[in-house]
Symmetry: C2
Subunit: 233 residues, 2 copies
Amino acid sequence: MKLYSETTRHLVAVDCIIFGYDIAEKEIKLLLFKRLIEPSKGKWSLEGGFVEENESLDEAASRILRKITGLGSVYLKQSYSYGEVDRDPGDRVISIAYYALIALCDIDKDLTLENGVHWRSISVLQDLIFDHSDMVKKALADLQSQIKVKPIGFELLPERFTLVQLQDLYEAIYQRRVDRRNFRKKILSMGILKRLDDKEKETSRKGAFYYMFIKENYERLKKDGFYFNLDVN
Amino acid sequence: MKLYSETTRHLVAVDCIIFGYDIAEKEIKLLLFKRLIEPSKGKWSLEGGFVEENESLDEAASRILRKITGLGSVYLKQSYSYGEVDRDPGDRVISIAYYALIALCDIDKDLTLENGVHWRSISVLQDLIFDHSDMVKKALADLQSQIKVKPIGFELLPERFTLVQLQDLYEAIYQRRVDRRNFRKKILSMGILKRLDDKEKETSRKGAFYYMFIKENYERLKKDGFYFNLDVN
């Protein structure tokens, strides 16, 4: 093993894949920006930044996320590290990718505009710079497997939502249809949703009850050995 | 965003969690070595090394693994990246952890001795330097979920194995008992094992047939939409 002092040092960045859910368009979106510096200036990019001397990887990811979204307390998870020598044509940069889940309504719109970032449909993937589309694909695959076994989908919804809206979210993430009866039966049988008294009446005459996710119920059930499972065909 | 040239550079290491399965002792082991340099000289450590200028993270992990084990073609998977500022008291080092799966019988014993590395029971976890025990715990949790859904357990076994030996392996990784009838029924129904003509006769008078994993069968079935699933109670 080489001694520490004789060793090559590297640029290390954190890139944030910021997923948002557009409840009206029933679509997962990505918070992207047009890159301000060469190489690839003007092209669509994930939000990223270099890891500073006195911050951990998690802290760097939180800092970048807060700068862009104005949000401090957001679901943020390390995804995968990318280290191909030539992945960034500007210089060798090792990048640790994180993904965040945000309800679009939580975003401060002015801050977003000021930073020049935009919510873009996930279908623009092929236009991203460097290996950013690989990063998004890997994070999305992880999200698809995680929402089956953890109640993280609620991070992408407003506090109150209908069961149809919840199912729409799962269908947007899975990118396939889900059986309506099974989905409702499974989610309601868990005992982690609370039905509210008022109804959403814009999309149907009859209206649909609003629900809320009760995190305390989930935490209590989990302690007793309960497993969240929304693996529905 | 800072320009590349103004930015702090970091030491980046790769640490390899090398899992081996001891078929006689029915135990998962770790390939560890006594650290040769300060800090923490003489303490048990994972095998690691710094990422060189012209190699990717995957290449660095393969290089370290080959140096220690003499093996070129081994199951190797990136696990998680560790970046706490003070995780290594010698200097700030960002480390990307990988885990490898090896059948103990594949190891060149002489090379192992020459490198001063040893197979140690996973129960020595608390004695590892730095955050290496966290690295092992996270990799083990990932292995526990991966062997349910991918046929990677076979990487830890010799080419020929009995069903009892396969079940012992799953029990060692899950760290709990598994129902014998369900396990046999599930694994045999998949059509990915081939029963050989000869028997293992050391552990029982009647003997137990040897089996082999037929990777081609698995790959063909997977193409047709088959999911490996060994989630057995």
